[in-house]
Structures are given as C-alpha cells and as structure tokens.
Symmetry: C2
Subunit: 385 residues, 2 copies
C-alpha cells in the first residue's frame, strides 16, 4: 500500500454505528460518559493537554485538582492507602505482578480470571496456579481452595508471590467471598490482588473491608471515563515496592514509567467522578433490575447461570430458544444480532445464539423492559413461522 | 477526607485555561487535534467504544478500518514490517527492552535520552551505558561513540542487548546521524531502537532507510491524537520475539497485555492521519520557520544551542536578557511567564528565565512573528524601567 490520497480517504472521521443504541454489552454499560465527561473530553482532548500544568509528576498537579483526586478522593473511594492512575485494569495487574513477583514465582488465579490476568502473569514470567470454579451452573469459587492452591505451590518449593481474585468475574458476574479469600491468603502471608474492573465505579468497594492488598480498576469499563484509563490501589505495606522510584530520576515511579494517563482520559474520570460516587450508592437498585430482568427472560426459556439470585448486573444466559431458531432461520446464527439491531439493541455479539452475556447496568427498567419484549417478539416471530 | 458533596464539587467538569492560547510547549504543538479528530473524540468517547467491533484482537477490526490502518497504512508510514498501537512512546520502549533484553543485560542510550528511556530500562532490569553528547553548545552525538560503548560493554562480559537513539532528543531537538548509528550497531549485531516521539507525525521517518530495528512513536506528542496513544514499529527479524503470543490465549500478544488503545484515542489518530501524512510532506517549511524564529530571537540576545542551523522545530535557548530582568523584576523569575500569559502565549514553564525550550511546529509564521515581537516588547519594557 502506498499512502496516496485514495487510500487515505478511508481514514479521517468515521461514524460510530451503535452510538445511540441501547447497549447491553458488559464492556460498555459502565463506561458511557456523563455529560460533564463529554464536555471535559472536548476541553482536554489535545494530545498532552494536562501536561500544561505538570511540574514533573502527573498526580501531584494541584490545579486542576489531580493531586487531591488521586491522593485523597480515590484512596477514600476504594479503600487503599495509595492510588495511582494506570492505562487500565490489566496494566494495574501487570504492575503488581511485575513488582511483587520474581521470574519463576507463582501467582494463584481464580478459574474465572480474565484472559488479561493470564497474559499479565506471562509477561511478568510468573507461573500460574488455578483455583477452579465449581463449573455449571453456579461457577462458584470456594475460598478454601485458595488455601489448597497455596499449599500445593509451597510444597513444590516456594509459596506463591501473589493471589488474584476476579471480583466479579467477567463471564458470569459472580462475586466470590473476597473477604474469606483474603483471610486465607493472609494466613499464608500471600497478598491478594482484587481485579475490580467490573466493580469499582459500579458498586461500593472498600479494599480494607475486603482485606485486599491491591485493587485493579478500570475507568473505561466502570467509571464513565474515556479509555484507556484505570486505577491501581496499593496498601501501605506494599507501596514502597510497587511504587519504587527511579534511582536516576528521583521523582519518577518505575512501574508507571514515570507517568501514565497524560491526557483527556483523566479529565473525563474527574468529570464523571461525582456522579460515579453517587451511582455506587444506588447499587441495590441495579441488583434489583438485574434480578428482575433475569426472572423475566427465564420465563421466555433463557437460563441464567452463575450465582442465583444474582448480585451483579453482568449475567450469563444459556439461550436454548434462540439456538433452536438459529438451526432453521434464514440468516442462521446471525438472525438474533440482526433482529436486535433492527430494534436498536446492541451488545450481544453477532453469531451467538447458544449463550451470551449481557449487562443491565444503568440501562434502566424501561429499556430493560423493551429488551425483554424484543426477545419475546423475536422468539414469537420465528416460532410462528 | 470523606467523599461528601462539598468535596466532590471540586471535581466534575473543569475548564482548561490555556486552551486557546498560542502554545509553544514542545509537548503540545504536535498533539493539537485536527477538526476530524475533535469530532471523532466525541463520537467514540465512551469507555470501550471501539470494542463494539472487536472479534478478540483490536488491530484486526475491519470496520472501522483498524486492521488496514495498523497493518498497512502505519507500516508504510514509518517503514517497519510490523506496527502495533501502544499507550505511548515510553510504553513502546519498555515493550522492546522487556522482550529483547534479559534482566542484567545492558542497553546503550544516547546522553540526550528522555528520562522515560532510563525508567523503561530500569523497569526491565537492564543496565545502562551512556553515549555522552559533546555538551554545550552543540550537544551532538558522535555515532562512533556507539561502537566504543558497545565494545566497552562487551568487554565486561556480554554485548548490549539493545541500543537506543533519541531522534530527535527532547531538549535540543538534535537529529543525530541515525543511519550511521544503525550501521555501527549492526556491525556488532546490536539492534537499534529509535525514539521518534518528536519525529513520527511531524517529519518524514522511514525506519528502513534509517536502519532502525524498532520505532517508538507518540500519538499525543506528534500525531494530532488524544493521548495516551503511541506506536511501536518492529522489523520482521524481531517480530516473533517482541510480538510473541500467549501460550494459553493464542490470539493475544503478551507484551501488549492482549490489547492496548481500546478507545477514543485510536479513533482520533485515524481521524487525523490523512492530515498528519500531509503535514510531514511540508517539513521543509517547518524547518524554515524554526530557523527564521531562531535568527529573529538571537537578534534579541537569545542564544540557540544544539544543532545550528537547526533541523527541527524543537529548540533550546539560553536567554540572558530575560535572566538579567528577572534579577530585579517585581515578580522575580515569574515575570516572563506572566508577561507571556497576558499576551496569550503559553508553553514556557513558569519560573524559567535563564533558558527554556520551545517548539515552532505548526505555529505558523504569523504567530511566530507575534511571539518574537512579544519577546522584544517584554525586553524593552523592563529595560526601559
């Protein structure tokens, strides 16, 4: 390809099709910008805008109040002694694994861990020991299994450097008993990292109450921020290790490469923060909506797997009625995606009919009702045919 | 601090003071968004917007044309066999150092390297061998010194894993003879990483012609993109190592943690790309503007250090007239910042009067003229007093 004008025409401004759809993709529901964040995005959009105010350390900028945000508000919000901005939850996980573990050490992961937890461990040259879930239909994690996993690893030479629990996991939206996992890990002096990509910014999270030593959180996933941006929470005990500074550049933290979120993402997170704090206070309503939705679609023949009654907006459904239809529908397994698209509903991956996950977060009862009705309409339409 | 409403009021939408100023901060001039990018930012601002279209690998998304952008347009643009998106130049450098070097290996850095090159090496547990510049006034890098540095390291046991050249450096805007550095490194089988944070997107860069094995580039610094976003260019020979995939998640590249720029930043880069390609074709005009500016302010008593005549928009000036004034001015060393602010000129760090760096990139002859006149006016004002 040569960069002639014709080829270049493919780039430039491109419209985003599903921008105004009802989006029930779990990746999307917690990341939709608030109006304030949308304004902040335009205001601070230019490349390095925030650096106009930087004296050498991003999170010490006083005006705008980045320092107060990072060093006071966020630690209070998630319950860790220290917070730093990162590019996302996976980057936070890597920072912890890379600084707490040494090549060849082992990290204990729950069997429902996101792929990025594996990849972060692999990047840090750590071995992985898995705590399996109970499998279908509950996919629950037994905290006691963390003890067994730690003992198994220790018996092979060296105790694990770290344990990680996905809270909740990204497939079933299960919230394991994090406090118990933490207690068991601490019995063995193994620190616990909670991957809160789907919780911080959606529901109340207090790392201290849960006993977590580290928190990984995601701005674009759950804090109404424009990505990539995330949080790393660290308790005092590990702060010196994880946030160690460069011997040659005394103000720069090595694991953050000196600086992370140098642009608009941070300003959208600050812009959304008051509303994000507020919405976590209404988590009970979100759970009620999720349960209501689950009950409604189960009446249509869908089967929610994972914890039941459910405690999170992210849910996984087996969907035999859609699978049956896909066997004979004209558009085959894409019929559902197309029917939903016609109805301005987005977020169930094209081609999936046997099962899918979705999120009810901030969708609201009216729109959820509309989704339920649409599912019913689609099932009826193809069953009558 | 408790997160009560009063405290939360400090966050939310915050205005950006210098948004409409003439900004001559080298960090800012290449990152100002194009109109298309500004539109893209709003269109794609929501958290994970681009992921609506993802089948598991960000850079393989066909519509919008991310695949074509990353795998065809960008490799052509920078002259590497492979390109990946990263969060910025420093993250690209770390990826290369972490995958090419082993703990304890050495990386050779030019003496003008950005702090983030040091910090990236420290994060990857690499030793650093410096190639010193010639110092004041030229601060030039002698390519032959790379050979000596490599031999010195090799004589201590193991040859360096990597060499890095900052092209140009971020203090003086010097463009060393990269081709000669590459040739010398290759004589010793040491691969060369060019840090092009201040060149890719501003001036024509062809890694193959320069002999670079790796390119680190910055979207927010030089490609009219909303940060954080950058590029990593890799030549074929090293692609399997740097872009190795996860053994457990076959599609995911380990060093990228599976995925990097999952949001609006990428779409701003795509939006600006046609104009960015175009502007690199007018690099000669930018050099002419830089030289013109340098000549004009030297007549006022400022002294440009670094290469002369200069070959880049980033320039460093010693500024004795301002320093003299600061000794007696009412506002001391902040007088200059305040005088410039009054004139809507931004980008020279508050408190600096002895020397500063600035960039003339895309500022245009009219605005540059205005900056020169303002400097003159300020000098006159305080000299008359």
């Amino acid at each position: 390809m040569s960069l002639d004008e014709d080829k270049l025409k493919k780039f430039g401004f491109i419209e985003r099709g599903p921008k105004d759809a009802i989006n029930i993709d779990p990746l999307q529901t917690g990341g939709i910008l608030t109006e304030d964040a949308r304004k902040a995005l335009l205001e601070w959009g230019d490349g390095y805008s925030i650096c106009d105010f930087c004296g050498g350390v991003l999170d010490l900028i006083k005006k705008p109040p980045v320092n107060e945000f990072v060093h006071e508000a966020l630690p209070e919000f998630i319950g860790t002694d220290e917070v730093r901005l990162t590019h996302g939850a996976r980057e936070s996980k890597f920072v912890v694994m890379h600084s707490i573990g040494k090549p060849g050490d082992t990290v204990v992961l729950d069997g429902l861990a996101h792929y990025s937890s594996y990849v972060a461990a692999q990047r840090a040259d750590l071995e992985i020991e898995k705590v399996e879930s109970s499998g279908n239909p509950e996919y629950s994690i037994d905290p006691e299994d963390y003890g067994q996993a730690i003992e198994k690893v220790a018996s092979q030479g060296k105790p694990p450097a770290l344990a990680l629990l996905t809270y909740p996991d990204g497939n079933y939206g299960n919230l394991a008993d994090a406090k118990k996992v933490a207690d068991i890990c601490h019995e063995y002096d193994v620190p616990l990292l909670l991957n809160c990509a789907y919780s911080v910014g959606r529901m109340p999270i207090d790392a201290k109450k849960l006993g977590a030593d580290f928190i990984a959180a995601s701005g674009h996933k759950s804090m109404a921020s424009s990505g990539p941006i995330g949080l790393l929470g660290v308790q005092e005990e590990y702060a010196d290790t994880v946030l160690r500074k460069s011997p040659t550049h005394k103000k720069k933290e090595i694991e953050l490469l000196g600086c992370t979120s140098r642009g608009a993402g941070l300003m959208t997170m600050i812009a959304s923060f008051p509303q994000v704090v507020e919405r976590t206070k209404h988590w009970e309503e979100e759970i009620a909506n999720a349960r209501w939705f689950s009950e409604k679609v189960e009446k249509l023949g869908l089967i929610q797997v994972g914890q039941k009654p459910h405690n999170h907006d992210l849910m996984f459904f087996e969907t035999p009625p859609f699978y049956e239809i896909s066997k004979t529908a004209k558009k085959g397994r894409y019929f559902l995606y197309k029917e939903l698209k016609k109805r301005n509903i987005h977020g169930i991956k094209g081609g999936l009919t046997k099962y899918f996950k979705l999120s009810t977060y901030q969708v609201g009862r009216d729109n959820l009702s509309y989704v339920v009705d649409s599912f019913e309409e689609i099932i009826d339409k193809y069953t009558e045919e």
